[in-house]
């Protein structure tokens, strides 16, 4: 079974700075998807970014980008020009191709300091 590990329980950064959240995963399959979700205090899980394992190019969404290292099974999230609204829990998640089930990591609590 796949596992997802987030080794940073908490992080904080000054507003406008750049921060990188780490995620590693374990799987024996080659076709899968990786995601970063944001969960603010409102509790709603919001999709931030998605990466298909077969794509070599790293996904980007405005200020959010990933560093996907397939061989190392690493999937980090970089947030540039951080904003106060980025304060939230961030979860890394994994899904096999053809299977809808998401497996989540334990999360990183990110605080943006004004």
């Amino acid at each position: 079974a796949q596992t997802v590990t987030q080794s940073q329980p908490e992080m904080s950064v000054q507003e406008a700075e750049t921060v990188t959240l780490s995620c590693t995963y374990d799987t024996s399959e080659s076709n899968y998807y990786l995601f970063w979700y944001k969960q603010p205090p409102s509790r709603q899980m919001i999709l931030v970014i998605r990466q298909e394992a077969y794509k070599q190019q790293n996904a980007t969404e405005n200020r959010f980008s990933v560093n996907f290292q397939k061989a190392a099974k690493s999937f980090s999230l970089k947030i540039s020009d951080s904003q106060l609204g980025d304060t939230a829990m961030y979860f890394c998640a994994f899904r096999y191709f053809g299977n809808e089930k998401l497996t989540f990591g334990t999360g990183t609590r990110l605080t943006i300091i004004p």
Binding site: R43, Q44, M45, F91, T106
Partner: protein, 113 residues
Amino acid sequence: EAGVAQSPRYKIIEKRQSVAFWCNPISGHATLYWYQQILGQGPKLLIQFQNNGVVDDSQLPKDRFSAERLKGVDSTLKIQPAKLEDSAVYLCASSSGGGQPQHFGDGTRLSIL
């Protein structure tokens, strides 16, 4: 488009009582998921429906948890009897399937006294 609706937002009960949660997915979404999120952990899938059929309930504690999705739209998740370890946020999500992203509701925070 309206998002995933869940109710109630909060629920406090005593152990051994029963409780039910309701979820209304995004219109047209065939796949519906219930997750349990214990404090300090990521969400864990309890059950997945495709229309009104169960696709995966391997992590659902079937001795006390039950779920149904009548007519392939709304869904209810029930716990009977509740235990202290059931204290968690229960999240509902839906998707149109085919690898499309899951959209989550705001969840129900359940506290067991």
